[in-house]
Subunit: 662 residues, 2 copies
């Protein structure tokens, strides 16, 4: 009993570029080859060369996923003996603890005779298996892969995703499926933001008060942490823990007020923002605590890097503290920034003596720190370049903040090595290790976290893996759509939970008109969320703004249709939008959570009317609406923290009409 | 970019009966009360009276689910102190091992002042919490419950669901979410069909060959079994294991050929049907084996009942065996049926001496067995009545076979106590303990198992819980639709996986026209599946017949619309069906798995054309199509094992046109 929801996108599809290889990230090199490999119940794998239990598990997972993708059981796939459909040759072991810069290359050839996957180590095999799965499609012959030859390797060695689990708790299942998604797009570093003002999320044996008083009971046990690390390693992913100090530490100070600058008592922070609480950098007891803490946590987390945060220290507690001021005077410390440098110089050797390298946000950049630390830039590419010039390695996160609700295109075109890097020598440039997409979770719950990360993170993954000149946005969006569905096959819930949230808002599964509205809005951008409402950790995140996707495909497709002058598609869409308000209004008015969206629905109708008039003018020379610009400028204003993404396309339409172009 | 997929169902909704209490199963007694309880962030529970860890866990789950349903975090819900929104009073403990016939009653009152849930034991609390969750809806005031008073208790003590995990392996996750669904609809018995010709699915310590050679590596470890039992107990569900003997035992005999009738060797059966392999009832070694096996398994499974199967023994192996024939002559055993009786009489004491009651399918009915056994009738209500007359307890499964693809209505109206029971005394009638929905999995995988069970099992659950006179089919369907969405909130995947399977068939998420077709077809009924194709355990179940739902809502809604003479809705639907073929054809022809559905799509178009002509006649007196009956009778034939459910409604329309009714 459905009309044709796919009808219009299908028409848009014809405007897309010639189909590129439908793999994401796009391999470094590939070429079509003759032949075709059929995937049927006789599919069989021969694994030769180096073997290890991790590879066996990877192959078992691979076969399960191939079954899920095709619906074909493969009872013989891993049994010895039969002729191989896929021959895997793994040359040697990789490092026991996965290291930055390990070889991840592989070659994959597919033809009539079967497929061959060669890699120097298990990491390359893991990457190649993901590519293989993406290549399998159904056509009139059945499931299979067209002949191809691929030589692939990543552009950057550090391709990460950061997940904040402090501001809203993210259960282990969320972490696990996030790792599955990362592996599918060949990301190799999971940056686990484990503590912040709003929660301390790891079990400490040495300081159990941290989780007991700082987590509301929501923390990962040590055994869960070990499981996650093993799970990540199985997928070729490093796990870098972050314990953010000396700021962002309110949750620590609930149990450890004695190492805070102000006397306390402290309570877990429930609001969002930058807070005054900070460790006291002048007390030896602070360093004694940190020495013990770092010793414990560096043992729990095997990765070579240990992230100490270091961002957004506002210094107010230090300025207000008499004894801190006295200490600064006594030690000739000029300002709070210098005081944080002093703190970092005390902390770095603690990290080092446990065999680790220190990592921190760009605020920790300090020429006097050893050059083996890593700077994560959230403030811009320039600080990355500055760091590289000073001899520091760094990675880019500025431009990769997924929580800021920017389109995939924006992140995709944000290159770690951009014009700022022009002045770097090759050696300096090699210090730019890659980047990390970041997911801060002030406005994110386990129900919408997938939707906030995926599929946009796949665009970042391609930026960091594929050659620099791979930057065709239309091709990226085309492949992203396929990738989005494949990510769901891996276990992510970004598509399912969108529907679940819409149905929760509506109280029914008849969400058609609500979905029409939800599909064409986007949450406000950057840091605008929360400017018009007060949020705490306990504010329900169950409104349309929490449901709407960061990027409206409907809005983008409409803009494309206007640009392509596909007037029949443009008209159908505008008619649908115009008529939606009447269908949706009763639902909006009878549901407390939806009432605030009434003006949004009205705006959609008005904007569509403006668009239809412009279209009539273009097609039949009808009169132009003199109110158009007022309507459009009104509809641009956020309503219920949502932006109406029909506006840009209609604006373009009105411009086309006004300039008389046909 | 969607047209209005919900548009038509919305119109149908107006024909539904006045909204009954939106709870499933419908409570025994209830009445509206003044007042309204708001559910917001201050929601708080006070649990008084008897307490136990199981109840604590139930409350934690309850709060999580309430959050999932509303999006509201309830940080204070379980903390002591605050004024209670929901006061729970549990009088006393229930049995350590849940017993058949334990009290499951509860009372629930909701008003301005809060909600009160009273129950004699934790089982009643569990049932009442499910009702509470179903009552919560959003209206213009927010989330809440309208005032109500409920006194509820089940009609039958045995309300079960049987899941076959032998013919296709069902991982523990499937079992777990099935238990969650059962709890949501107040079912209390999980019947785990653990062995059959095609697989032996439990780890045995005493006879490890059973799982080693009989399971393809797909079996539950003892620790997983214990976890499932604990998980079920937490939800007020008994777990009754079934080990089907003496037939259906091919998988056992792979490792234990010496207890088989034929000499072997045996291999795991890969086909479907009734096979000759049977335990040898004449050898003492068989009973020695079973004595050890039953001793082990009755310890692993704590429930009082132990199911020995006993169905479908074709006796061919016995007839063909010289030594069996000799034994029968020596013991005066007349036929194979008598021989099976002899076998059962040897087995029953083994079950008994381990403190259990024996259960079996209706074939085991034997006046000479002790009266404490339970007969599960799969062949009809009559055998249940016969058993009751002979003093045996029994439960009904005939009419509850969900794998036969019958509509919810059919199962719903199938009462364990029907006209056959008219001749029973009250005491005899009380021996009818309830029923069990059965899910045999020849054509079922973990991907579509939810869809095959749910939501139809909820209709069976209501039959077994609610008063006998609750049998309004329209009300049932209306509530089933809500229940279906709620079951998804519990974790079931029947709705999600439908989409996943459609998208897999299509290779894209633009599945609109494919979904139009899928929505209006149903798999063939009863035992027709497999008649036109050969299936084995390894046959991919990835076609449209594996995706299409057992019952087409679109077909039923269309029939309702025709009956209600809702001509505008009827026309819209017919136009959609008529035009769908052109949109869908390119996809069907370019996908190997979909090619077989081309005639189905053509039939839908033809049937819609016949319907439109009939409608034109009704509305405008247009000419009637003389080919109508040929088209319809052709379209009734299964295509690719699918039935076109547009036919019945169009037939009704043609009849209406022909009889001149307006």
């Amino acid at each position: 009993m459905k009309l044709f929801p796919y009808f219009i996108p299908f028409l848009f599809a014809i405007m897309s570029p010639a189909a590129e290889l439908n793999v994401m990230p796009l391999p470094a090199q590939y070429s079509a080859q003759p032949g075709h490999l059929t995937i049927d119940g006789h599919f069989h794998i021969a694994a030769t060369g180096y073997s290890e239990p991790r590879l066996d598990r990877a192959l078992a997972r691979f076969v399960d996923r191939l079954t899920r993708q095709t619906g074909i059981p493969f009872p013989e796939a891993l049994k010895p003996g039969a002729a191989a459909t896929l021959t895997i040759r793994c040359k040697a072991a990789s490092k026991l603890v996965q290291q930055l810069g390990e070889d991840e290359s592989y070659t994959l050839t597919v033809g009539d005779g079967g497929a061959k996957l060669d890699a120097p180590n298990p990491l390359g095999v893991l990457r190649g298996l993901e590519t293989f799965l993406q290549l399998v499609v159904q056509d009139s012959r059945g499931f299979g892969i067209d002949g191809i030859s691929i030589e692939d390797r990543p552009r950057f060695p550090w391709r990460g995703l950061m997940l904040d689990v402090s501001r809203h708790w993210m259960p282990v299942e969320v972490v696990r499926r996030t790792l599955d998604g990362m592996a599918a797009v060949k990301m190799n570093t999971f940056h686990w933001h484990l503590s912040d003002d709003q929660g301390f999320r790891v079990e400490s044996l040495r300081y159990p008060g941290l989780q007991r008083l700082g987590s509301d009971g929501h923390y990962y046990t040590r055994s869960q942490v070990r499981d996650v690390i093993a799970y990540a390693r199985d997928r070729g992913i490093r796990v870098v823990p972050e314990f953010d100090i000396p700021g962002h530490t309110t949750s620590w100070l609930v149990s450890q007020p004695e190492i805070g600058t102000a006397p306390g008592p402290y309570q877990i922070e429930r609001h969002w923002g930058i807070f005054d609480a900070a460790l006291d950098p002048t007390k030896e007891s602070t360093y004694k605590f940190l020495d013990g803490f770092i010793a414990e946590m560096t043992k729990l987390f095997p990765d070579e890097y240990f992230h100490i945060g270091g961002d957004e220290v506002n210094g107010k507690a230090w300025t207000a503290s008499e004894h801190v001021q006295k200490f600064m005077r006594a030690h000739g410390i000029q300002n709070n920034h210098e005081l944080q440098r002093y703190f970092n110089r005390r902390v770095q050797p603690m990290v080092k003596k446990n065999g680790k390298r220190m990592e921190g946000w760009d605020e920790i950049l300090d020429p006097d720190l050893p050059k083996d630390i890593v700077i994560q830039s959230w403030r811009g590419q320039k600080s990355l370049v500055d760091a590289a010039k000073q001899g520091f390695s760094g990675l880019l996160s500025a431009g990769y903040y997924l929580d800021l609700m920017q389109p995939a295109e924006f992140h995709y075109l944000n290159d770690p090595i951009n014009e700022d890097a022009a002045s770097l020598t090759d050696e300096q440039r090699s210090r730019i290790l890659g980047g990390e997409a970041c997911m801060w979770v002030e406005y994110v719950t386990p129900l919408n976290v997938d939707d906030r990360i995926w599929p946009r993170a796949a665009a970042v993954a391609e930026r960091l893996w594929s050659p620099q000149n791979v930057r065709n946005v239309a091709s990226m969006y085309q492949r992203l759509e396929f990738m989005s569905r494949r990510l769901e096959m891996v276990g992510l819930k970004h598509r399912e939970n969108y529907r679940v949230m819409l149905e929760r808002l509506a109280g029914t599964d008849r969400v058609g008109p609500l979905r029409v509205l939800a599909d064409i809005v986007e949450p406000v951008k950057l840091y605008e969320r929360g400017e018009s409402r007060e949020y705490t950790q306990f504010t329900p995140l169950n409104r349309l703004v929490d449901t709407a996707r960061p990027e409206s495909d409907a809005g983008r497709n409409f803009r494309y249709a206007v640009a392509a002058k596909n007037w029949p598609a443009v008209r159908r869409t505008l008619l649908m939008w115009r008529d939606n308000d009447a269908l949706l209004r009763p639902m909006l008015e009878s549901h407390a959570l939806l009432k605030e969206d009434v003006p949004l629905s009205t705006n959609l109708k008005r904007v569509a009317e403006v668009g239809l008039q412009a279209l009539d003018h273009i097609e039949h020379g009808g009169p132009l609406n003199s109110d158009a610009s007022a309507v459009l400028s009104d509809a641009k204003k956020p309503v219920a923290e949502l932006l109406l993404m029909a506006v840009p396309g209609v604006e373009a339409l009105v411009t086309t009409a006004a300039t008389g172009a046909q």
